[in-house]
Symmetry: C2
Subunit: 345 residues, 2 copies
DNA sequence: CTGAAAGCGCTTACAG
DNA sequence: CTGAAAGCGCTTACAG
């Protein structure tokens, strides 16, 4: 039982506390806690369970997250950190994460300016929330070195970084190679590449796999024909506009972009410049965003399973948080090329 | 000073606590708290301030968010609730919110299945995190009635709901009227409308303003020519495919969609069906997403200032959280029509 | 099966 | 200007 004054005080604050539930049910707060957390097995009588349940629903009691977190040493918050969180690709990833995490965990997104990772100080502030777990999207080694997070971590789309933590990867190399082969088949011999400034592993692999396979097919991608911009339609459009005259002169007939968002910018600017697509210039991207089917022309893209990525990563993290071992700490999801009109009329 | 055992225990957990800082600086935890929170004015000697600062940086101390929140009664988390959070429109809103909130507050997104508001139970769980404030996007009255949140709240894009809380609105009606006038000018007399299933106020206003102005211009929008889907390219495409034969027979020559995302679906399906755009069918949307300039054909849309919406809303909330009064509790941002090829060849 | 008590890490009157 | 102490709301050994 709690003291009458204590209960009275909580009443005034408007917040329903465990003490109020305890007073109403005629038990201790310890019992309330046990019932509210479903830890009654062999520890609380049926009678008291019913009593407490009734009091909880009558009062509309919800366990206070802050008090609970402090006592447990960890909160129910899962933090998702990614340099690319406002890309529409991530909307689906987030939906997948949310679904697999269920109602017991809250999703906190670390939002940074496009393409940037949070600074060390930001991360520490996030850690001060004592997250139940951490999801890190498309990281680079440097960021992971700085991270030093205690507790469960799962990486998303982090090829080559499996040593740091369990991860769910996308086989972007496969799609990249398909794309190189497709361009070779359609007669391209000089190709430009628009990369991201992020410098994360997934982009390095996309580029590396594409360049390797391109070379194997006799396609030339000169160093001067590789540029980088943030993941932003406008930035990409501007960069392409600046580069195109030289590329055109050098005989470039195709541009591969590391994301569809980049590709939309190139598409936009190429159309403004009156470039014929795909006859004069073929364009392709990665991600296969929902808009790539309706762009003008529709965009050839390496399809990546975003929802599935979120679902799997959330599921793995949840297992980790709940103390299970992962049967498969490394998962890889398939990618594949979707050919549309921007490379093949 | 803290007891040696206490400090020793914290050392073992790996977490740097105020007690450890206090021990190192030779002061009490109260002084550490004052310094860490910048509340030293007239309360801590210069000498001790320097001592504590040194200890903080030497140890890498970060105030524990959970402990701090419990003591203060409120956390540094700002929750953003919106039925439409994975729409690319919201990516910019989120970026704006993040920027105006600054580094002192963490943004927690309540992610629900497309177009749905969180259930009452979900909201209560979020409230148990004791948020510093709440941002509610595109709400309906029912949700706000249920909400009963204590503490600062700012509504985004909530026309007609100004009575509930300070809000930042978009003058969607203005753009909607411009769109109706534009369609009338280009000769359309029978128009269909694709609405959202969400039933939120902003969509009701978009539709209402459009229908009113359309009627004033002699445009007929029959009740049977108004359909609703979730904010999803595929759902919208399917709904349009089902509706189009009847619309075509009835002489419909234009479709207005309540979001660009809906419009992309209509565009996609219309092209598959071989419908000539805009000659046979004009299509327009709301939001002016970045992809609307590159779609095929490019999409006429009512431009809404997403980044600015987030910036203003975050700014208002921050002022509220910090105890200031709002000089202008109601803000309205402009919208305007951007005409592109989907309505005008 | 049950409750009193300690403790999670911090902040804030309070007394000095 | 400073520190001891109470308190935020909960959970968890512990003793019974």
């Amino acid at each position: 039982m709690e003291s009458a004054e204590q209960v009275q005080q909580s009443v005034r604050s408007g917040r329903i506390t465990a003490a109020m539930v305890a007073a109403r049910a005629g038990v201790s707060t310890a019992t309330v806690s046990l019932v509210a957390n479903g830890k009654t097995a062999g520890r609380v009588s049926e009678d008291n369970i019913a009593r407490v349940r009734d009091a909880i629903s009558e009062l509309g009691y919800v366990v206070d997250g802050i008090g609970s977190s402090l006592a447990k040493g960890v909160s129910s918050i899962v933090i998702l950190v990614s340099p690319d969180i406002s890309n529409p690709f991530f909307a689906k990833v987030i939906a997948g994460v949310r679904e697999s995490l269920g109602a017991d965990y809250q999703l906190l997104l670390s939002v940074t300016p496009a393409g940037e990772f949070p600074q060390a100080g930001d991360v520490r502030k996030l850690m001060a929330l004592r997250p139940a777990g951490l999801l890190v999207g498309a990281p680079n080694a440097e960021f992971l070195d700085d991270l030093s997070a205690a507790g469960p971590v799962v990486l998303l789309d982090a090829p080559g970084l499996e040593a740091y933590a369990p991860s769910v990867n996308l086989d972007v190399a496969h799609g990249a190679r398909q794309l190189a082969a497709h361009l070779a088949d359609t007669g391209h011999r000089r190709v430009a590449y628009v990369d991201s400034v992020t410098g994360t592993a997934t982009f390095a692999i996309r580029r590396g796999a594409f360049l390797d396979e391109a070379a194997a097919h006799g396609i030339a991608v000169e160093p001067g024909h590789i540029i980088s911009t943030t993941i932003d339609v406008g930035a990409s459009a501007a960069a392409f506009a600046a580069a195109w005259p030289a590329w055109q002169q050098a005989g470039v007939t195709a541009v591969v972009c590391c994301t569809d968002t980049h590709a939309y910018g190139v598409l936009q600017e190429a159309r403004v410049a009156g470039v014929q697509i795909p006859d004069e210039l073929a364009i392709a991207g990665f991600d296969d965003l929902p808009y790539s089917a309706t762009s003008n022309p529709s965009l050839t893209s390496v399809h990546l399973p975003a929802t599935s990525l979120g679902l799997k990563a959330g599921g793995q993290l949840r297992r980790l948080i709940e103390g299970h071992r992962l049967e498969q700490p490394q998962l890889t999801l398939e990618s594949s090329l979707v050919v549309r009109n921007s490379t093949s009329a």
